[in-house]
């Protein structure tokens, strides 16, 4: 059975293997072992701190198959985007240039550097084994984060954002980067991307030119990629759109990829969530649900079948109870798949 749980140090080699297999770039997860173990350590601290713990926290989850104990995916949440530092984006806005006398009026798109999204809850670090890309495991890994947020609502901002990877080709050529960032860094996209994972995105963003960028001054091939996602992120985008996320005015300052946004309570997962007492039982059948326990440190989320009904308890399959590490009478949350 596939289960999403907090990452631990024992996942290190599994995550490394996974990152080498995935086609999608995951800037927030470095391939270097030292950096990776730092991330796990940060996350570990985050899960340990009680809900009273203040300050930004970074959570890293893994998708594990309980049959072979292998790691098949990672996903993460930053409770506060920017992690206490400014979180940089370009905001796509418009200015009107009009001359009544000359009968000219045009809306000029302009990119403004913005910190507005600083402090929003950020979904990140999503990587999944290509073999599971088309399975329910994909939904589980992504949406388990929302289930975790539902179990620990005080730790997160109501507004949730996701940065979607922008357009670049297999050789690392990124039209937006080449037209913007590269002019000021003299380095190719992959190198900049590497620094983003090794240093921090904030650190890199501070080097980005601060003045607004008039979009018409960019080459057409670059402006065409503004707010467009990489084909490898299609599945992610579809899932998030279904969840109720939508493209915002914000884009990644490096590759021009879109930032998706949603109000937590309006997401499909949270909007349809139920909280009940678990009654482990032999019963099978019903509809597929995401089911999670209500723990912080020992959070678990799986997909199982339930028959929803009235009353404040619900029967859950024994293997689900086992995977969630819960006893009869423990609180669970569930939301339709």
């Amino acid at each position: 059975m596939l289960v999403v749980r907090p990452s631990t140090f024992s996942d290190l080699t599994g995550i490394e293997r996974l990152l080498n297999d995935t086609d999608a770039r995951v800037t927030t997860l470095p391939k270097e072992r030292d950096k990776l173990s730092e991330k796990i350590s940060e996350s570990d601290d985050g899960f340990r701190v009680g809900i009273d713990g203040d300050g930004p926290t970074s959570f890293l989850f893994v998708l594990q198959d309980t049959d072979d104990n292998q790691v098949y995916g990672t996903s993460g949440i930053d409770s506060e985007a920017g992690y206490g530092y400014p979180f940089f984006n370009y905001r796509l806005d418009e200015v009107v240039h009009a001359s009544h006398h000359l009968n000219i009026s045009s809306k000029i798109p302009v990119l403004f550097l913005s910190h507005e999204l600083t402090g929003r809850t950020l979904l990140r670090s999503f990587a999944i084994d290509p073999a599971l890309k088309k399975s329910d495991g994909f939904d589980l890994l992504s949406r388990a984060r929302l289930m975790y947020m539902a179990a620990n609502p005080d730790r997160f901002h109501q507004e949730v954002i996701v940065e979607i990877q922008g357009i670049f080709d297999e050789k690392g050529a990124c039209p937006f980067w080449d037209a913007v960032g590269r002019k000021f860094f003299d380095m190719d996209f992959l190198t900049a991307d590497y620094y983003c994972s090794m240093k921090s995105k904030t650190f890199m963003s501070e080097l980005i030119p601060q003045h607004p960028v008039y979009v018409p001054l960019l080459p057409p091939e670059a402006s065409a990629t503004i707010s467009q996602n990489h084909p490898a992120a299609n599945r992610t985008c579809q899932l998030l759109y279904r969840e109720g996320f939508h493209k915002s005015k914000f884009i990644d300052p490096f590759d021009g990829g879109p930032v998706l946004k949603a109000q937590l309570r309006n997401t499909h997962t949270i909007g349809n969530i139920r909280f009940k007492k678990a009654r482990p039982s032999d019963v099978v059948g019903g509809m597929k649900y995401l089911i999670s326990n209500q723990s912080n440190q020992d959070f678990r989320c799986v997909i199982g079948t339930l028959v929803d009904g009235i009353g404040d308890s619900i029967r859950i399959p024994l293997d689900v109870a086992d995977a969630l590490n819960i006893q009869a009478g423990d609180d669970i949350a569930y939301s339709p798949l």
């Binding site: 000029i108 002019k183 860094f185 030119p209 008039y214």
Partner: protein
């Protein structure tokens, strides 16, 4: 050949010159009404009936053997008061990080009105058939004598805006990369509208945020601060007088603005006041020679004159003129004149 203030009767000649000057000489729009307004302004300036900051002095180069104007030039006492004066200031931005070994210096263009209040070496146009015998030099440099004679009419700083680069077809790479996106018109049209004094549209349509130079096309970047090939001699002349690029450029074609403190302009600094002596033996100037010539002004505002004489005419305190020269200058024995060598001594521009 001599310099005098423009006159009411010069209007036809002025319009003819405007027609000749073509795109790029913004201050001479091919429009009779506008040229007449300019003429009125100049006449009122010499009359001192305009406020100081509104004055524009137009001078004509006159061929005494015919009635035609050979050329005109202008001085503005203070720019940017009626119409707003725009430039891009070319600034530097450094993108640096020791940690990842990045240190990149780039340029940024900032829209500015910084040059407001400067005096300006403005329009100059010389008819093609008169482009010989130091006429261009006299026409251009005579203005420095006027500055020296009437310091009180001008500010501390003076600038000149140089026509920017455009190709043989009149295309400006700077305009194509920047202005076109905001103005949706041809460079020549924008240029014409500016010349008409219709500058409100600049404020309305111009990008207000700084422009990252690396985001312009390479062709545009290459011509920032570069003059039109035909303007190279004018630039060299200004430089020889001490003008330097002041890091401001034209917002349309990227042409440079050059500037100097008026008191430091070579011809102002080196000019000297002499007493007029009349003599039939005053040496005649050799107008084909680059060296050995002096400009002489009569120091009279309303009836201003500048003429070229031989430097041998200058004694310690006396400048010797023959009667014909004195007539043109409208001076008599004992009057004072101001004179300076036409070209800087150390340079033969």
């Amino acid at each position: 050949m001599y310099i005098r203030p423009i006159q009411r009767t010069d209007l036809d000649s002025l319009c003819l010159m405007a027609k000749h000057s073509g795109v790029g000489v913004t201050s001479l729009p091919d429009n009779r009404q506008k040229m007449e307004a300019k003429l009125d302004q100049a006449l009122a300036s010499f009359d001192k009936t305009l406020p100081l900051s509104d004055r524009v002095y137009l001078f004509a180069l006159v061929d005494e053997t015919s009635t035609e104007l050979a050329g005109i030039c202008a001085l503005e006492s203070s720019i940017g008061h009626g119409d707003v004066w725009y430039n891009y200031h070319v600034g530097k931005s450094v993108h640096a990080s020791r940690e990842i070994n990045v240190h990149k210096v780039t340029q940024t263009l900032y829209l500015s009105n910084d040059l407001t209040g400067c005096s300006e070496i403005a329009t100059l146009f010389l008819m093609p058939e008169y482009r010989n015998n130091q006429n261009g030099q006299l026409l251009s440099r005579s203005r420095y004598l006027f500055l020296a004679d009437f310091r009180e009419l001008f500010g501390e700083d003076i600038i000149a805006e140089m026509r920017g680069y455009s190709d043989a077809d009149g295309n400006s790479p700077f305009w194509e990369s920047l202005g076109r996106h905001f103005f949706q018109m041809e460079f020549s049209d924008a240029d014409y509208l500016t010349g008409l004094g219709n500058k409100v549209f600049i404020a309305e349509l111009m990008p207000k945020f700084p422009i990252h130079v690396p985001m312009l096309t390479e062709a545009a970047q290459a011509v920032i601060g570069k003059v039109h090939p035909q303007t190279e001699p004018a630039l060299a002349m200004l430089k020889s007088e001490g003008f330097e690029f002041n890091h401001y450029i034209d917002i349309f074609d990227g042409g440079p603005s050059v500037g100097a403190k008026i008191k430091n302009v070579r011809a102002v600094r080196e000019s000297k006041v002499y007493r007029v002596g009349l003599s039939d033996q005053a040496p005649a100037p050799d107008l084909s020679a680059k060296q050995g010539l002096m400009m002489v002004s009569n120091r009279q505002l309303a009836d201003y004159r500048v003429l070229l004489v031989d430097q041998g005419a200058a004694g310690d305190d006396t400048l010797w003129l023959n009667p014909a020269q004195a007539t043109i200058l409208n001076v008599s024995e004992g009057d004072t004149v101001r004179a300076v060598s036409l070209r800087p001594k150390e340079l033969s521009v």
